[in-house]
């Protein structure tokens, strides 16, 4: 359905050129729910913004293609993009608090989104909005309210309702639950799961929380420093991660079930994308770094359905055992 190949997105800033997304490829099939996980500044938001052509003015696509049903999104003209947005690809944006216009009633905003793309009467669109509110679990009467009368969870639901309004083929959700409390987060995730069961399209969910992905998605892309370093089936990545960064991320997550383990952080800081390291992007922080990692960028190697970017993929069984020990991450390579 969506086939992204060698996508490069750069930002021009006064100090030079930031390689926010660098050579990213993946495929999204019908029915896929893809989770993109990564730290702030790893390029995940840039990646999804490019799919709707809503990049900031200093960002540009340096290369690559994004084929949506055989058509390259980057080559579409403005009127075609306008039709694509909302109708075929919709977005649930980060912090729903700011996604709604404070001076319009929520119902009117949803109606506007519908009538903009479909030639139907306002009353009919309003009926549709009522149905959508039932779907996401907000009382219909609240359509007449303003955003400030909503709680955080309700705003998020209203934004989800808006994203579903035109039955898009792809829904993109950017950190849909980050600003919410645990219980509200659980309610939203459950609602998303229920909606997806009866939904034919696919979804891309961007988050920094692996556990959110574990609860909703079926595929995972781990992003680091503008690259997808590991891509594959969710169960495989949770149970048998292959990239050292994924291994490190797993160590850093506290849990409320099972044995109490000490948390291990990944030493160092995320790379400066203005001057990215010459070889593997993770090499400066990787405990398993070798000479080759510092000089040559690894190419994607197939692992089951997905791929991994690592020179030492062959020894992954051994590295996985090492990665569980705290000593490993305290500098000095093995």
């Amino acid at each position: 359905m969506l086939d992204i190949k060698n996508l490069k997105i750069y930002y021009n800033i006064s100090e030079g050129c930031v390689k926010a997304v660098d050579n990213v490829s993946f495929q999204l099939h019908r029915g896929d729910i893809l989770g993109i996980v990564g730290e702030s500044g790893c390029g995940k938001t840039t990646l999804i913004k490019s799919l709707l052509k809503i990049l900031p003015s200093n960002g540009y696509i340096h290369g690559g293609t994004a084929n949506y049903k055989g058509e390259d999104i980057f080559k579409m003209d403005y009127s075609r993009i306008q039709k694509l947005r909302w109708k075929e690809i919709s977005i649930i944006s980060q912090s729903a608090m700011n996604a709604l216009d404070p001076v319009y009633r929520v119902g009117d905003q949803i109606v506007e989104a519908i009538t903009e793309h479909e030639k139907i009467k306002k009353e009919k669109a309003f009926k549709k909005a009522e149905k959508l509110f039932d779907l996401v679990g907000v009382n219909r009467r609240r359509l007449k309210d303003y955003p400030h009368q909503y709680s955080g969870g309700m705003k998020q639901r209203a934004v989800i309702a808006m994203a579903l309004a035109l039955n898009p083929e792809i829904i993109i959700a950017d950190e849909p639950t980050t600003a919410l409390d645990v219980i509200v987060q659980a309610q939203i995730l459950q609602r998303i799961n229920e909606l997806l069961e009866n939904y034919r399209g696919s979804m891309i969910m961007v988050t920094h929380d692996i556990s959110v992905i574990a609860q909703t998605c079926n595929k995972v892309a781990v992003m680091y420093g503008g690259k997808i370093v590991e891509f594959g089936d969710k169960r495989r990545i949770v149970a048998r991660p292959c990239h050292p960064y994924t291994l490190g991320l797993k160590n850093a997550f506290p849990s409320i079930t099972g044995e109490k383990k000490s948390l291990i952080s990944i030493p160092g800081n995320p790379p400066d994308l203005l001057v990215p390291p010459r070889g593997c992007i993770f090499a400066p922080r990787c405990p398993f770094v070798k000479e080759i990692c510092r000089n040559k960028s690894p190419l994607p190697e197939k692992v089951e359905e997905g791929y991994v970017l690592c020179h030492r993929l062959g020894e992954v069984e051994k590295l996985r055992l090492y990665a569980e020990k705290e000593k490993t991450w305290l500098r000095s390579s093995i």
Binding site: E39, S40, S151, G153, M154, D181, V182, I183, V184, Q185, A186, Q187, L189, Q190, H208, D209, I210, S211, V212, A214, Q215, K234, R235, V238, G248, L249, K250, N251, A252, F253, P254, S255, I256, T257, K260, S262, L263, I264, S265, I266, P267, N269, P270
Partner: protein, 328 residues
């Protein structure tokens, strides 16, 4: 064990809905009861966790403990001092003993101060270290303690020249430099990335145990509280509904709200699905609360009595208190 912090029946009401010509806000009935009768103690060397949803009064409790708010009623003791009504001089002494780490290191550090200036400020105010060299020595030692090595590389930096994790380490250094006996950390890692977060958590853990500090750790994330805290209190709308040893609170989950809160935490294991059968609806506000259990409207185990009478704390196990009519 030595009690450092003692809180008894602490209440903080904020007047709400008061307009210029309407004085009905004076009436305590119409107040927002942010903290409504909270009691706990923190011993020397103990880390006490406070968990709950936003708006439940966690941060208000922290600010009361720091003397940033005056309590409406109740007793607040810290290191043998009654802090509910301090005069300026006593306040200064108290500030030396109690320090706070804030949520957002991007905002809590002065952007125009170099690291050494940020850390020197408390030393100047409290007259610690005679000469500048002596002060610098203290600053370098504390930087090493918070894992910023070598300290020479950091003393002259501005906040914008550091990453989020490093900034939060500076904030921690600033809190520790006066050698306090009690620290409050309000969501100290919620602004940090996962790979950095673990390091800051480990630092907090090490720093508090090494100095034998009493500390209050506030978070909405129970998994972080589990990692750091010896004791935990679960707050709901201004009341502590359950408190006890962290592991016991998590395993036994006596209070229906604790159960709901724990079930809602997403697990990294895809087979452990989140479960929401334990709670209904959304948080009600705490303005019009008079009688009955606060959790009653959302509780799945609610009984007739819950609507009419507020539950009293019951000791279900040794040092494990629950506020619920299910336990007698």
């Amino acid at each position: 064990m030595e009690n450092i912090v003692t809180v008894k029946h602490l209440k903080k009401y904020f007047r709400s809905g008061k307009t210029l010509f309407d004085n009905s806000g004076q009436n305590l009935q119409n107040c927002l009861k942010a903290v409504d009768g909270v009691s706990f103690t923190i011993d020397k060397g103990e880390t006490f966790g406070l968990a709950g949803e936003s708006g439940c009064g966690k941060t208000t409790t922290a600010k009361l403990l720091m003397g940033l708010y005056k309590p409406t009623t109740g007793k607040l003791m810290c290191n043998g001092m009654d802090i509910s009504n301090l005069k300026n001089k006593e306040m200064k002494l108290f500030r030396r003993n109690a320090q706070m780490i804030f949520q957002d290191p991007y905002e809590s550090l002065n952007p125009r101060f170099r690291v050494k200036e940020t850390l020197k400020e408390p030393l100047i105010i409290h007259g610690i270290g005679k000469s500048d060299d002596e002060k610098l020595e203290i600053i370098k030692n504390i930087l090493e303690d918070v894992g910023l090595n070598p300290p020479e590389n950091f003393v002259n930096r501005f906040p914008h020249e550091m990453s989020g994790g490093q900034r939060q380490r500076i904030a921690i250094a600033r809190a520790l430099i006066l050698k306090p006996v009690f620290i409050v950390a309000d969501e100290p890692v919620s602004m940090l990335d996962v790979s950095i977060r673990a390091g800051v958590l480990n630092l907090l853990k090490k720093a508090t145990s090494k100095r034998n500090l009493a500390s209050l750790f506030i978070s909405h994330d129970i998994s972080l509280i589990r990692y750091l805290c010896d004791k935990t209190a679960i707050m709901y709308l201004g009341r502590i509904v359950e408190t006890g040893e962290t592991e016991k609170v998590i395993k036994k989950k006596y209070h229906p709200y604790t159960e709901a809160l724990l079930e809602a935490v997403p697990s990294i294991n895809p087979d452990n699905k989140i479960n929401l059968s334990k709670i209904k609806g959304e948080v009600t506000n705490s303005v019009n609360f008079t009688e009955g259990c606060r959790f009653y409207p959302r509780c799945t185990k609610a009984m007739k009595i819950c609507e009419e009478i507020s539950p009293k704390p019951v000791e279900v196990e040794k040092n494990h208190w629950v506020e619920c009519h299910l336990y007698k």
